[in-house]
């Protein structure tokens, strides 16, 4: 029989292992690791949401739901997103998905033909590029820059050749940098997008985690709603990552196309999670606000510690990440991260994993308790000062 590896699809063979994998393995084989490498909240889902999931199971609600998700959940989502000035019809413009990740994948499959290009800002969450490739599309990398605090600019788009793309991916508040974009900054991007007739796939999963100002969705800018698909979900704001529940908001034609793919591949998003999500939207604003405030304290703590240590760290205002520069004398983020985990047992993720323009930076997640953060920062400080002395 032919070797199975030779039978794998070209697509599978061309898919590289995620750059995070190596650090995951290093961290797994060591004891006493303090990890600042975690991409999910350290809180559990609000109790009311968990109870709703349990109740639904007790009542035997274990069947499929409508492909698009329960109608009451879609209605609730529609009224929830009005806080971002977004208005979508629950029947035609909302699709409930298995995590926002599925929504991103569906949008790519619904919109990207082989040979189409999709502009993906870097550094960014690791899944966008591969989902473009799975749809046969090509990625145009758009580098964002440390001197702009990793905000996407008109010039970045122009310089990268994004004008030739079918669509632009946006992810603000951003993983891995924690950067956010203001209405004025988004207006520049929107101008470019309209000029070159691009679609926008806007991943707003961290919208609820903004610390200095309110989240602005690009879909609310003039002429943008009709060319934007917004992704959001319950993972980050409601600490429900394992529930796997997200949603897409967009023009009826696109949502319908996404739903046609979704109905064959996923059928419907997890039912139990839909009940939890319904309750989360119904009654958990207070719990989200408490988590946000706790994240905010930690955010200010780690930013000031990094700057005190001499690791340049811009004031990230969203998500639960900061993106400091490697300390002076260290160019190579991967070498720094590896030395740090081996010598001080602190795990974080090298910036280059998220794209070339992340080189020389480190993604630091502050989704850990204060005592872990303090331990980690003390260890990083002693590592940096020891090395400087040496």
């Amino acid at each position: 029989m032919t070797e199975l590896t030779d039978r794998l699809s070209e697509r599978a063979r061309d898919t590289p292992p995620s750059g995070i994998r190596r650090f995951f393995e290093l961290a797994e084989e060591m004891d006493d690791i303090v990890s600042l490498g975690v991409g999910e909240p350290d809180f559990s889902a609000p109790w009311a949401a968990r109870t709703a999931a349990i109740d639904s199971l007790e009542r035997g609600r274990t069947s499929y739901t409508a492909n698009r998700g329960r109608r009451d959940l879609r209605e609730r989502i529609a009224s929830h997103v009005t806080r971002y000035d977004l208005s979508y019809d629950p029947d035609e413009e909302i699709l409930v998905t298995t995590g926002a990740s599925e929504a991103v994948d569906l949008a790519m499959r619904a919109l990207v033909d082989p040979g189409d290009a999709v502009a993906v800002p870097q550094p960014s969450y690791i899944s966008y590029g591969p989902t473009v490739s799975f749809s046969g599309g090509d990625v145009i990398s758009v580098e964002t820059h440390a001197e702009n605090d990793f905000v996407l600019t008109y010039e970045d788009l122009e310089r990268s050749g994004a004008a030739d793309a079918e669509a632009l991916v946006l992810c603000y508040p951003n993983n891995p940098t924690g950067a956010v974009m203001t209405r004025e900054e988004l207006a520049e991007v929107a101008e470019f997008v309209r000029e070159h007739d691009l679609l926008v796939l806007s991943d707003e999963i961290y919208a609820a985690l903004r610390y200095e100002d309110e989240h602005v969705s690009i879909a609310t800018l003039p002429g943008m709603r009709e060319r934007t698909v917004v992704f959001n979900g319950f993972s980050k704001a409601y600490a429900m990552t394992g529930m796997r529940l997200g949603y897409a908001l967009g023009p009826a034609e696109v949502i319908d196309a996404m739903n046609r793919i979704h109905q064959y591949t996923m059928l419907s998003a997890p039912t139990t999670a839909q009940f939890a999500a319904l309750e989360a939207l119904e009654s958990c604003d207070g719990a989200v606000e408490e988590m946000r405030q706790e994240f905010d304290r930690r955010r200010q703590f780690v930013i000031s510690r990094f700057n005190e240590i001499g690791m340049d760290c811009f004031e990230a205002k969203g998500a639960f990440y900061v993106f400091p520069k490697c300390p002076p004398g260290w160019e190579d983020d991967e070498a720094f991260a590896e030395a740090l985990i081996r010598e001080e047992r602190v795990a974080l993720v090298p910036g280059r994993v998220f794209g070339e323009s992340g080189e020389g930076h480190l993604r630091v997640s502050y989704a850990s308790g204060m005592s872990e953060l303090k331990t980690a920062m003390d260890r990083i400080e002693s590592f940096v000062t020891e090395r400087n002395r040496g």
Partner: protein, 162 residues
């Protein structure tokens, strides 16, 4: 005002953290944080700082009882006077006037059940205004002042994730 509220939250979660760490979390400097703490102390909003002790693990003999107290007031004696009198005993670790079927909830601590019951019968019960005491001995403490004494759930998140 909001800074004070936040400061109280931080001290409630860990009163031993350094002023520098408090300042970093509030996004301010150590001197400002120190001033705020001084203000809270002088206003009497902060009355002290204490350890939360799990006596079962402290290798010390320690018994606590929650005592329900009924009192009868007269023209000369109000709750304040009675409270002042009871509060002065070091055995009384907390004293509250409460609504419901009795008047005061008193926490009494001692080295043994005998100590505690003797204290209640010899010091509290004889107070003229006290008409009834009901003593409940604490058998196990699971949570104290927001701190759960059981083993916490392990963090079962992946150590590194995207």
């Amino acid at each position: 005002m909001e800074a004070k509220r936040e400061l109280l939250d931080l001290l409630l979660s860990d009163a031993r953290q350094s002023t520098e760490d408090i300042a970093r979390q509030l996004g301010t400097d150590a001197a400002t944080a120190e001033n705020l703490i001084d203000e809270l102390e002088s206003e009497g909003a902060i009355r002290g700082y204490q350890a939360v002790v799990d006596w079962d693990r402290a290798d010390e003999d320690h018994v606590r009882a929650e005592v329900e107290l009924n009192v009868e007031l007269d023209r000369e004696t109000g709750y304040e006077e009675i409270a002042r009198r009871i509060a002065k005993y070091p055995e009384v670790s907390s004293l509250r006037l409460i609504s419901g079927s009795y008047d005061f909830a008193v926490d009494v601590e001692g080295e043994s059940m005998h100590d505690v019951s003797r204290f209640v019968s010899e010091q509290i019960a004889p107070i003229p205004e006290v008409t009834q005491t009901v003593t409940h001995f604490v058998m196990t403490t699971y949570k104290e002042r927001g701190v759960y004494f059981g083993d916490g759930d392990d963090d079962d998140r992946l150590a590194v994730s995207p």
